[in-house]
Symmetry: none
Subunit: 205 residues, 4 copies
């Protein structure tokens, strides 16, 4: 149904749960968490309103599940990319950024919802999702700090630069358009360069 969500929500097992999650993603990304109704989700999932509650105990839990999956998957992809990138900070960062950009364009709806609807989460669910997000942020900070310490990055503000870098990458979900001027690969390469520049690398490619 929505190729952009292929790997985020596994459609193989429990077809209904996947349909609900995907419908929620669509609804929340188009109307926002508070603007979308459980009826919207049910309609999109092709099931009844009350059946939603057999899978998710509340609307908030539905959002939490979505954000958890999105953040976990993003973190996972970045970690995998970094792990395979050798030990130079420059290479690790490039790998992270490219994986990040690809995730955002492949799962634009999920990225958008993760960016803009996290504020509607409260309590334990919020803590958990914020923690996942912070781990991603922390990963960037570590790489940047290491690169700054090792002389690869010249920026005098490694932590703040990392934060701004993540802001930049996350914001792609707000303006990217699939049919646009740049394809995902070009976009990834371009943002790798932006990242290097932001961190004041001497070695530009």
């Amino acid at each position: 149904m929505n190729s952009r969500s292929s790997t985020l929500v596994p459609e193989t097992a429990r077809a209904n749960e996947a349909a609900i999650l995907n419908a929620a993603l669509e609804a929340f990304s188009q109307k926002g968490f508070n603007g979308a109704s459980m009826r919207d989700v049910a309609r999109g999932a092709g099931t009844s309103l009350s059946n939603l509650y057999n899978y998710f105990p509340s609307k908030s839990d539905l959002l939490a599940a979505l954000l958890r999956m999105a953040n976990d998957e993003l973190l996972n992809r970045i970690e995998t990319a970094v792990a395979g990138a050798g030990r130079r900070a420059t290479d690790q960062l490039r790998a992270a950024v490219e994986a990040h950009v690809r995730f955002v364009v492949e799962h634009q709806n999920a990225s958008l919802v993760a960016l803009s609807e996290i504020r509607y989460l409260t309590g334990a669910a919020r803590k958990r999702v914020v923690a996942a997000r912070d781990r991603t942020q922390g990963l960037y900070e570590e790489i940047v700090a290491a690169g700054a310490a090792g002389g690869e990055f010249g920026t005098p503000h490694p932590e703040d630069a990392a934060r701004n870098l993540v802001s930049m990458l996350s914001a792609i979900s707000t303006w990217y358009s699939p049919g646009g001027r740049l394809d995902p690969d070009a976009l990834a390469a371009q943002h790798a360069r932006f990242s290097m520049a932001l961190l004041e690398t001497n070695d530009r490619s």
Copy 2:
């Protein structure tokens, strides 16, 4: 009442209108446009629900008024800063970024609402606000393009770099905390440096 909104909403004339706008800013920034109710706004403004409609014909119009003011004021400040910055692109950009950062920290709520609630605007109101936002973006693009053409900026992607720069600056409203490590001046200087780095200036200060 809210020092962060000092100049955005003039409290001198039409006290009630200003109180309503400020209450709406507070409500929308804390709960989102759809999560905040007109009752919230009325309570915050110290007036009755129905009296709100003597000032704004609908909740959407209230949001539109807010976004219009925020975008217009931001654009105005940047234009003024640029106009007083000489003709080198580097100087103009630094002036723009510093004015931008100061606006965001001075009007954090307004900036946050302008960033995240614009999606709930429709029709003519949306067009108008989007146009104001695009003029700001266009101003950055012009400066960057001029600087790239004149050899001040080395970036091979002036337009996209400008877009990411604006993303970065706008996102400050999502994480800035008034009592934090950096005061507004330091933050402005820091982001001026980030901007120069992103555009690959040779001249770093």
Copy 3:
């Protein structure tokens, strides 16, 4: 402004009162008493909402004034017509019907409101208006009863025939269209004939 209301609401003295009454007539006839708002009336009258209450203490009183004028004027015209019609019931009835039809087409809005909005009157105002309406009805009944007693009308149900006659005439306000097939004179003549037929006159013209 509205020629159909020329004599019902005297526009000479107290221009505002007349404007309000005419605006109310327009509003009530188009949207019904409950569907029209005092704001509608104010807008139509070209004055402020609150100023309405300097002339009429409540929306109900405004309706009452309207209905009183409409019923009084109708009764007055019919009485005048009957008084000038000689003493044969046939002639009196014809005069009454023709005056009645002319009133309805000249004051269609007022007639429509008098027919369909009287139900929203309560208390003393209702009593007074119902009394006026019943006097008109009574006049018809008297003429028909006299004509039946004198052999001019053959109907065996004078009172019920009179009621149905009035129903028929009042209903003209619900379907008459100024630019239609029949002009007021033709319509009056036609309904005079219908009335004679209904009462089973031997003398048909």
Copy 4:
């Protein structure tokens, strides 16, 4: 609950829908469409306000359903009566009028609402109901035209006479009182006679 609505709203299947329709009939006939609230209807139906919307998507749709049923049932009864009345126009008209009168007194609320609240219908719903009403009117016109052509009726204005006849019959709903002087049969017979007279039949019974 309301014996006057016995056949109009079938209470056998879907008990709630019938209860809502009957409550709406009661509410609209007593307070008018705009004067009655959905809360009134819910109270009368013995259910919650929000549950109303599981049966009818809007107040207008509720009115439309009511008017559709009323007009369809009236038309149906008249058609059935006419079909069983032989081929003389006089007999057909008498049958139509008697069926009409019986419908009005049996379903006085529905008849009253159909007469006076049709103006609050808009769009497609209005078109549909107006069409049903016009078919009834057309049926009368056809009978009268045939009778006039065949010499049974002497009226020189068959179409207009038919219209006034329908006005007369519809208006019964505005003044009839169940415990009154005339029982339904007598009323039907009386109005059959009025109809014949109005059309200037030679043969009076």
